[in-house]
Structure formats: C-alpha cells, structure tokens
Amino acid sequence: MALRTLVSRKTLRTSSLGLRGLQTFSLPDLPYDYGALEPAISGEIMQLHHQKHHQTYVTNFNKAIEQLDGAASKGDASTIVKLQSAIKFNGGGHVNHSIFWKNLAPVREGGGEPPKGSLGWAIDNHFGSLDALVQKINAEGAALQGSGWVWLGVDKELKHLVVETTANQDPLVTKGPNLVPLLGIDVWEHAYYLQYKNVRPDYLKNIWKVINWKYAGEVYEKECP
C-alpha cells in the first residue's frame, strides 16, 4: 500500500485579491496495518493514534485554515494573529505525525535495520556509533517534561546532524530554520501509555526495533548529496 497524501481542492472563492482556492488536508494512509509494528507498538495504540489523534489534528487544522482564510479576506488582522496557536498546534500535529508514520516500518519491511550509506557514516562520525546516538535520543526523550517530540535532524546549511526536542506539536523547524527532520519519536503519553504505561524509557528502548532508517537515509541524502 503506497503512502499517499490526499489533497482536495475545495470550492473556489473570489476575493478582492482575485480567484483563490483553499486546500484542505487529509489523513494520510499508513503504509502498513495497525498491528504490523507489534510487539514494539501495539495495534490498539496505532489505531487510536492514527484514526483519532492524527485525524483530530487534521480536522482542526482544516478548520483553522478556513477561519484564517476568512479573516485574511476581510483584512481582520487580530483574528489572523489569534489563530496562530491553533495553526501551530494542529498543523504541527499533522506535519509531525505524517513524518512519524514514515519513520516506522514492520520488521519484515526493514524496520529496525541499521542505517547504511552516507547517513550511517555521518552518524558514526558525529556521535561515535549508532548505539551512542540511540542512547542520546532515548535520554532526551525520557527527560522531556510533559508532551513533545525527540528528533534526529540535519542542518541543511551546516550539513551536520542534530538531536533536538520540541514541546507539544512544535515542528523541528521551530528549533532552527535550517533543521530538517530525519526521524521523530512521539513522546506524548498517547503514543505509548496503553502499552507501556508510565514507563516511557521502555517505549523508547523498543521503538528502535521498528524504526525505518531507509526513509531517514533518503531524506538525508536529499539534503546532503
């Protein structure tokens, strides 16, 4: 099942600026079944996470964009500004989760296989070893207070790898405009609670068995050819 993001054109509307169309966003399909990542991540979690949490971000993102469009065409500056947090929360949630589903793969499709090629080499070069990188990501993910994400990213200007965390649904780019996410791990409690309860470190330990390094490598090679 190929991953595809459905985008539909909504009704065109005219405004004082001319013809304008409004794109809406849709929940992307998962490229694997809900149960395919077991036992690392349960099918129950995958289904709730995708069908409920991500879907809600998409729905509310579309609502916020529609309101933004309305405010912009009326020249309502304060509403535009007021909508920023809804856009960041829900848009960030959609962006981050869309990356996350691609960061995971069933074992039989390469999930858990270590990175090869230039990304593998860059990891060894920058962090000493893959294991050292994993320990660092797990430590930062475990220490994150509240809800957020832990990322492996690449600075596309400086061409070097970074490990960063973001709060809530802030995308990685909020930590640096040149940062491109290679790998994100969701450490909101909804990502693991039904299976791992309060033991976030166990979730972090086990998720590496289904991490899709192939995708991360492709993104890296695009930024650092």
């Binding site: 709730l48 409920k52 949490h53 809600t56 947090s85 929360f89 207070q145 509240g146 809800s147 957020g148 709060a167 809530n168 649904q169 909101w188 409690e189 909804h190 609670y193 039904l194 309860k197 309060n198």
Partner: protein
C-alpha cells in the same frame, strides 16, 4: 502566609510503628511536613515529603475513574514525583523548606530550577485527589455557589468555562478554579489576569507542572489533563473525562473549605 506547625506524620503505607497524628493549623488541604528522622525496621530514613494516599480507596471512584488508573496515576506517577523530589532536596537548602516554599523558590520567575517539576507535581496530585470524592458531582451550595453566580453569571456558565479551559489546555497541564488576589506584580511571575477584579473566582489553565501558587492565587479545584490522567479510562476522549469529572467526581465540600481558608 500562614505558618504551619511541624508534625511527624506517618502514612499508614509506610510504617506501623508510630500512631498517626493530625496536624494543627489551618484548614488548607495541602500539607507541610518536616519528618523527623525515624527508625524503621531496616534503615534510618530521612524522608522529606510523604506520598499521601487519596482520602478514599483506589477503587472508590469506579466506574468513573478506575482502580487501574489510580494504581498507575497515584502508585507510579505521583510516587515518582515524591521520591525524585526527595532525592533532589535531601542535603540541600531546600531540605528545610515546606513543599509550597520549594515550589515558589524553584519556579524562579519562570526560569524553572531542576526540582520545580517534581515539587509542583507532588503538590498538584495531592490537591487533585482531594478535589474528588466518591459520589461527587452535583452542585455547590452556600457561599461558594453565591460567588460562582456572582463571578460567572451562573453555575452552568462556570461549568462551561472550566470544561473549555480543561479541553483547550494543549499538551499536558491542569485547569483550575482559583480565588484570586489582585496584585499586578506577584513577585514571582506575571499575573495572568491583572485586569480582573480583586477577590474573584477565576478559571485558569496551566501547562505541565505549573500551578496557581506561583501567581499567588488560592487554588480551589483542579483537574489533571495530562494524558496519563485519563488515557486508560477514556483514551483520546478528554471531553468525556472532563464531563465525568464534573458530573460524578468533584468534591464541592473540599472546594468550599478551601474557599473558606482562602478568604480567611
């Protein structure tokens, strides 16, 4: 701030060697304890803050909040905040301070010091257990209801505002009913509602571990909206959790006595 008498209090879960003693002082629901060094069977323990059990058994709020939730929420999450706080404070200058003092000091005007999260979360959770009771819900009475009507227009309007705050606290955090003192510069933090009238009831929400003590407000009621508070029972359905809390769990008795203490 009122002074509290130091008392030795032993939770029934810890050691059966000492009789439980009440503590003298105000009717505030949070507890300051300076535990003396006490001998238990195997080791000398100098604990600072206790993990107090909820004022009801872990299954007493079923089916609205499950025993399983309590086993994790109180037994793991709350316990870890208390244990980790004690580890952080033992042997430091924080060791001589009350839990409330630790919270204010480590809030540090928003530039949080390392023990803030554990201290605030230890306080928040004890306050949360005591905000609920078996057979809770319904409506408040007496002066509390009068003030709610005065400051929100009606009880229904208050409920709406509280539920909205709880539902829209993005990520992890808490929603609160507080009794507000109007001091624009509250010393430690920016007053989030400086334009509101003095001596009012107000609904506020806070992120992660932050609580209204840092704004010098008097908390009266809280609901925990970290996902761990409701995920086992409600999964993603936070609004259902919030409604259940309001309809079946809130201890208006506790809220009333806290209001009385706050006004005193």
């Amino acid at each position: 701030m009122a002074a509290f008498a130091a008392a030795t209090i032993v939770s029934p879960f810890k050691c059966g060697l000492f009789p439980s003693q009440g503590f003298s002082g105000s009717t505030r629901s949070f507890h300051l304890r300076k535990n003396q060094k006490r001998t238990v069977r195997k080791a000398v323990v100098a604990a600072k803050i206790d993990l107090k059990p909820p004022p009801y058994s872990l299954d007493a709020l079923e089916p609205h909040m499950s025993r399983e939730t309590f086993e994790y929420h109180w037994g793991k999450h709350h316990r870890a905040y208390v244990d980790n706080l004690n580890k952080q404070t033992v042997g430091t200058e924080l060791d001589t301070k009350s839990l409330e003092e630790i919270i204010l000091v480590t809030y540090n005007k928003g530039d949080l010091l390392p023990s803030f999260n554990n201290a605030a979360q230890a306080w928040n959770h004890e306050f949360f257990w005591e905000s609920m009771k078996p057979g809770g819900g319904g409506k408040p009475t007496g002066e509390l209801l009068e003030l709610i009507n005065r400051d929100f227009g009606s009880f229904e309007a208050f409920v709406n505002e509280f539920k909205t705050a709880a539902a829209t606290q993005f990520g992890s955090g808490w929603a609160w009913l507080v009794y507000k003192a109007n001091r624009p510069d509250v010393g430690n933090a920016v007053n989030p509602r400086p334009s509101e009238e003095d001596k009012n009831l107000v609904v506020v929400k806070s992120q992660n571990a932050i609580n209204p003590l840092v704004w010098d407000y008097s908390p009266l009621l809280t609901i925990d909206v970290w996902e761990h508070a409701y995920y086992l029972d409600f999964q993603n359905r936070r609004p259902d959790y919030i409604s259940t809390f309001m309809e079946k769990l809130v201890s208006w008795d506790a809220v009333s006595s806290r209001l009385e203490a706050a006004k005193a």
